[in-house]
Each structure stands twice: as structure tokens, then as C-alpha cells.
Symmetry: C2
Subunit: 162 residues, 2 copies
DNA sequence: ACCCTTTTCTTGACTGGGTCAAGAAAAGGA
DNA sequence: TCCTTTTCTTGACCCAGTCAAGAAAAGGGT
């Protein structure tokens, strides 16, 4: 698979280097990784790798079109190898988890506004904001916990004890 | 109109202060202003206003629901008073200009993905990326200029001169 | 296999956009 | 008016990322 990635890099007109292969590896394992995750992951194969090198690698990937950068509001940028299919993203407001959503159209721009205000549009970026399953569960537990606490406090205030 | 804004602030449960009124004024004049623009604008009415005060005011506005914060990738955050109608944005890739697009649905989330991956979705944020009219014109001019230069160079290379 | 040019990585300084914290000032209800 | 609470000022600090200069590595030509 290193071979495959080396091939991909050459196809994209990029030299094949260890930092680049490591970053590709991390990106394959973590489909929506931020720079920090990538640095940590890549260091397993290349311990001396610097953050700046990773920023450089990622910028080269994005410029070459083999990676895409997404920037959900309020979070560091994320990078993904899935490119060219104009898919969209679900983002968890609570934990920041990201999931892909296939675009039903598949080609950019998949949506066109009624009034373009004179703009020429080349892409419609869609972010669906919500709560991932884990965070829904956690919220339910917290709510239940709060209820229990309320109940206890009521009992204590009332003076009754089981 | 100061009166109106004061009223709006009170409605939102916020105290009426000069910094807040100034920021509201700037936001009314610049419907998609970044923090710096707001600081500069607000200082016309309140010269000693600090950037931190503006950040605080904006945070209070967003928390109170009288302003909305948008963060187009690669640009500082923008603030707008138009709130609660779930509209979307056109953003110019070249100059960063922003225009509003009415949402045909009007209530969030206006879009729902086919596969929610277990997420509960409360909002679909849509950003249309493109080129505003000015930047289209400028791009055309540059292209025309580049052609002219190419032509000259060809003539020079070929040795011919008019 | 080796050299040479070009690209890439390392190191380290620096920036932009913003947050956090403590005390001073102002808002507005009793 | 006084008093409490909120808000603003001042200044330190932080995160994510960029810029620049030199060292190292890639890979084409011989």
C-alpha cells in the first residue's frame, strides 16, 4: 500500500517522501483528521516529523488535489482524502465528530440559489449541524442524572430519607 | 433609531450601553462586518472603545440571539443582524464579499441528508462559493492584459516590431 | 553509482484572530 | 441616591497557522 500511495503521489506530480507517505497513512486511518492528529499519527512512523512539515505536506496535497480541507466553524481545519465527489458533512456541535454525507447530485455546485446576486457560483458547501449518537446518549444520561439529583434534593429538603 | 435599538437590547435582556448601541449601528450599516470593521466603525461614535469590548458585545449579541456569527473558511468571523430566517450566503473566493441568499424553506434545517449517520440535525448551513461581479470583471481585465502581454512577447521573440 | 538541480523538511521567529482574568466604571432597580 | 450586578478596560495569553533561511533528501542526467 505504500507502493500505491507512492504511485498516487507521483501521479499528482509530487515527490515521494517519508513524511508524505506517513501523512497519507494517517489520513487513510482518520478520514477527518486535524493537523495535530496527523502530526501525532505520522510520528509513529517518523518520530522526528515537525508540525510545519505536516502543514507543508497538507498544503501540497490540497494544491495537488489529493486532499481536501474543511473548516467547520469554531474548530481547527480538517483534512480528508475523499475528493472530487462533492460530498457534504455532518458535524456534531458537542464533540466535533464529522461524518460524510453523499451528495445526491455528485457534481459541484449541487445546489444553485434562486438569486445569485451577480455571483458566478462554482461550489455549494453544505454543513449539517447536529448531535452525534454518542452525544445524544450522553445528553440523555446527563438529563437523567440531573433529574435524579433533583429528586434527591427534594427528598432532603423534605426531610424524608429511604 | 437609537431608541429602537435600545428597545431591542432590553427585549433581549441586555443592558443598554453606548458600546452596544454603536456596534448595532455599525452592524446595520455593514450587514456582514468582521470584528475589525466593527471596532473601526463603532469608534466613530465611541473613540475609546476597545477591541475586547467589541468581542464581548458581539458574544453577548450572539448569545442573546440578536446577531449571528458566520465563519467562512479562511476568513475572520462575520456578524449579521439578520437572524432567525435561516438564510444562506454567497461568498466571493477572491475578495470575500458576502451576499445573502433567501432560504426557500425558511426554517432550519431546510435540507435533510438522506443518511444522517445517527446524527440529530438541527441546521443545514449552506455556503455558495464563487466570484462576485466586481471580481469577475477584474478577472476578465487581467485575462485581457495577460493576452496583450503574451502577444507582445511573441512579437519580441519573433523579432518583429510594429 | 554519482553528481547536480530542484524540491522538501527542519528549525525557529512571528502573525492574526481571538480568549481569559482582574479591577474600574456604568446601568438600573430598591 | 445607594447598592448590586453587569459591562467595559487593560493587559496577558493562546491556538492555529504562516514565513524564511538553511539543511537534507529526491530523482533525472551522465
Amino acid at each position: 500500500m505504500d507502493t500505491t500511495w507512492a504511485h498516487q503521489l507521483r501521479e499528482a506530480g509530487l515527490r515521494v517522501t517519508r513524511p508524505r507517505l506517513s501523512v497519507l497513512g494517517v489520513l487513510a486511518d482518520h478520514p477527518h483528521a486535524d493537523a495535530e492528529t496527523i502530526v501525532n499519527g505520522a510520528r509513529e512512523q517518523h518520530p522526528s516529523l515537525s508540525p510545519q512539515a505536516v502543514y507543508g505536506v497538507l498544503k501540497a496535497f490540497v494544491a495537488a488535489g489529493i486532499a481536501r480541507r474543511i473548516e467547520p466553524a469554531g474548530a481547527p481545519a480538517l483534512f480528508e482524502l475523499r475528493v472530487g465527489d462533492n460530498h457534504h458533512h455532518l458535524v456534531c456541535r458537542s464533540c466535533g465528530a464529522v461524518a460524510d454525507v453523499d451528495c445526491t447530485v455528485g457534481a459541484a455546485p449541487c445546489l444553485i440559489p434562486s438569486d445569485t446576486a451577480g455571483f458566478v457560483i462554482d461550489e455549494a458547501e453544505v454543513v449539517f449541524w447536529g448531535l452525534c449518537r454518542q452525544c445524544q446518549d450522553r445528553a440523555r444520561q446527563v438529563a437523567a442524572g440531573a433529574e435524579a439529583v433533583q429528586y434527591e434534593q427534594q427528598e432532603i429538603r423534605g426531610g424524608a430519607r429511604a
